[in-house]
Symmetry: C2
Subunit: 135 residues, 2 copies
């Protein structure tokens, strides 16, 4: 059982590496938000560029603060509601730092007992909605 646990542990470590490499190279701008704190827990270079900051600037910041005119609870609730609605939906927002308009497509999931929101960013609506067709 100990050996099985160790093998399992190795597999998990491999998954972490895969996750980090995938985030780093993905051309799909993506960020992860903790539903309990509303803060950005991870963001890839493509998303940081769109938002107009570095990864270091954006990690740990409140996601609602990164967009114009959105209060924290309101934005999180909207995103969570959209994520569990049928079909894919995107919300249009303006990034505070870059002053760029973009669409957020949210996906809600649970990991290690915590609710996380994966947000994909897009500067065109076509692509934001196109995600559905790829599924």
């Amino acid at each position: 059982a100990q050996l099985a646990l160790e093998r399992d542990y190795e597999t998990q470590r491999e998954m972490e590496t895969r996750y980090r490499v995938l985030m780093e190279v993905s051309r799909d701008p993506v960020l992860m938000v903790s539903m309990s704190t509303g803060r950005i827990t991870d963001i890839n270079p493509a998303a940081a560029q769109l938002l107009g900051g570095t990864r270091a600037d954006l990690l740990g910041s409140a996601v609602a603060q990164e967009f114009e005119g959105r209060r924290r609870g309101e934005l999180l609730d909207n995103l969570a509601t959209m994520a569990i609605a049928e079909g894919s939906a995107a919300i249009e927002l303006m990034a505070r730092r870059s002053q760029k308009r973009m669409f957020l497509t949210p996906t809600l999931f649970r990991a290690a007992g915590e609710r996380l929101l994966l947000c994909q960013l897009d500067t065109s609506e076509r692509e934001a909605l196109g995600a559905d067709e790829l599924g």
Copy 2:
């Protein structure tokens, strides 16, 4: 120490979930290839669609078999060489199932002692090379 190990284990499990969700929803077509076997160990829906198969069809298949005119060792060697070269480089190939031309951009990494190749697919050269600018 046991408690620390358990917390660590929970973190790893969370990373696996993040990895799976990210692969599933990413609009960036991506596949993972084992360098030791040359087989596809993971592929997301966006990449499966471009290659013209389902995830089930493509999982475990030899990556070189999915493209026209490429022998297994040759393709793997080319991709690995490109991955470690400076700057990002893409290789143009035709997918066997879909008969679509596309560019592969490889990233080589090591996880749990195994060498893995992450391949991003693109139907336009502009996007394949654009990846560099986002970094």
